[in-house]
């Protein structure tokens, strides 16, 4: 699964849904793989408005990437800063989590990722 997927996931435990701590899930001991993807500035520009920037910053650090700027780049920033464009391209479009777990900061539940597929099926006592 691409790192960007984490922007759209939360803990599956009902009681966690209403707490802000259940997003983002924190990657733990993750193995990463990298796809090679042709530069796609249109995609990058149009997906950035829907990225929760502070959450992405904490995910990047947890995965061992350099920390992000405090504020998200504007489309103009992105166009003028080829390094930032390349870094975001790598983090958001090329990097996949293949193994590891995603942890809810509210309830502590760990969702395993195996062969790139995160498993959100809960044991019966948590449903």
């Amino acid at each position: 699964m691409k790192v960007l997927t984490l922007n759209f996931l939360t803990c599956a435990v009902k009681a966690c849904k209403t707490t802000s701590a259940s997003f983002p899930l924190v990657p733990k001991e993750c193995e990463l793989v990298s796809d090679t993807i042709a530069p796609n500035p249109t995609l990058l520009t149009n997906l950035l408005p829907r990225v929760d920037w502070p959450a992405l910053g904490s995910i990047a650090v947890a995965l061992g990437f350099p920390s992000l700027s405090p504020l998200p780049p504007t489309p103009a920033d992105l166009e003028n800063d080829t390094k930032m464009m390349a870094d975001l391209h790598t983090l958001l479009l090329e990097t996949q989590i293949s193994e590891g777990s995603l942890v809810c900061a509210n309830c502590g539940h760990e969702y395993k990722v195996k062969e790139g597929i995160a498993n959100f099926l809960l044991p019966n006592h948590l449903v």
């Binding site: 960007l4 939360t10 997003f23 796609n40 149009n46 790139g116 597929i117 959100f120 099926l121």
Partner: protein, 263 residues
């Protein structure tokens, strides 16, 4: 007719094999009227152009119960034709981990085909194993697609198979999950429909859900319209018409945009 992605690599012993219901979804989503609806909602310029309007965020398309991946990979590969833009984000969810693997592979094959013919495709995020929309963040999904387990059955299978099952019984359990819908065949679909107001994006969210005649589709649509005056539910595709009964139909569920303020 847009080409249907290949699923010949999928083991149909434990993953739902594409059938009439899957193809009805493909036909409906690529019909002239749905292309118009989707392009109107997600692209304001007239299609097909590869440059989406500035500042219109990439739409997120989620298929729940992606199975072999035939529907998701079709939309993914034909994003430009269907949405008028190829910068869409796609992802699949299935309770069956083998189905998740199958979808990943089907998407990969479809992307290769597109690349060979030098045509575009969307951006695939991945598949997660989950119960319906339970792992999704609120208000993010722009288009949700669901071909549910819709056959009326006396019981519903449990979501997770007993680890003590033999390989054969484990596969049968997974196939049962793909069709068994409980009372009126609606127990799973009703849970999904109830989650829509929470998970669809406020301004652009819409859903396509397949229903069969035994599901009492008119009752389901009436129920959605009662959510509030902006909520709509209409049949936008059907197959197997016989004496006025559609055997299968696709219901589009969406919120009309509020009137544009002129001040």
């Amino acid at each position: 007719m847009l080409p249907t992605p290949s699923t010949s690599h999928v083991s149909f012993d434990r993953v739902y094999e594409p059938a009439e219901d899957s193809y009805l979804l493909l036909d409906t989503l690529s019909s002239e009227s749905e292309k118009e609806f989707l392009q109107d909602r997600f692209t304001h310029s007239k299609p097909p152009t590869s440059t989406p309007p500035k500042n219109s965020p990439s739409p997120l398309i989620i298929e729940v119960g992606s199975g072999s991946g035939v529907v998701l990979s079709f939309i993914h590969a034909h994003a430009l034709t269907i949405f008028g833009r190829s910068d869409i984000l796609t992802a699949g969810i299935d309770v069956n981990p083998h189905a998740c693997q199958a979808t990943i592979q089907t998407i990969r094959c479809a992307e290769k085909e597109q690349e060979v013919s030098k045509t575009s495709h969307g951006f695939y995020l991945g598949n997660v194993a989950a119960d319906l929309t339970g792992a999704l963040r609120c208000g993010e999904v722009d288009v949700l697609i669901f071909n549910p387990p819709y056959v009326p059955t006396p019981n519903l299978p449990s979501l997770v198979g007993d680890p003590k099952l033999s390989a054969f019984d484990a596969d049968s359990h997974l196939l049962e999950l793909s069709y068994a819908g409980g009372e009126d065949g609606m127990e799973v679909t009703n849970r999904l429909i109830e989650s829509l107001p929470g998970i669809l994006s406020r301004d652009r969210g819409c859903a396509y859900v397949l229903l069969c005649a035994q599901n009492k589709p008119e009752v389901a649509k009436e129920g959605i319209r009662k959510w509030g005056s902006r909520w709509m539910a209409e049949t936008v595709g059907s197959s197997g018409k016989n004496a006025g009964w559609e055997k299968l139909q696709i219901v589009r569920i969406w919120r009309e945009s509020p009137p544009i303020s002129t001040t």
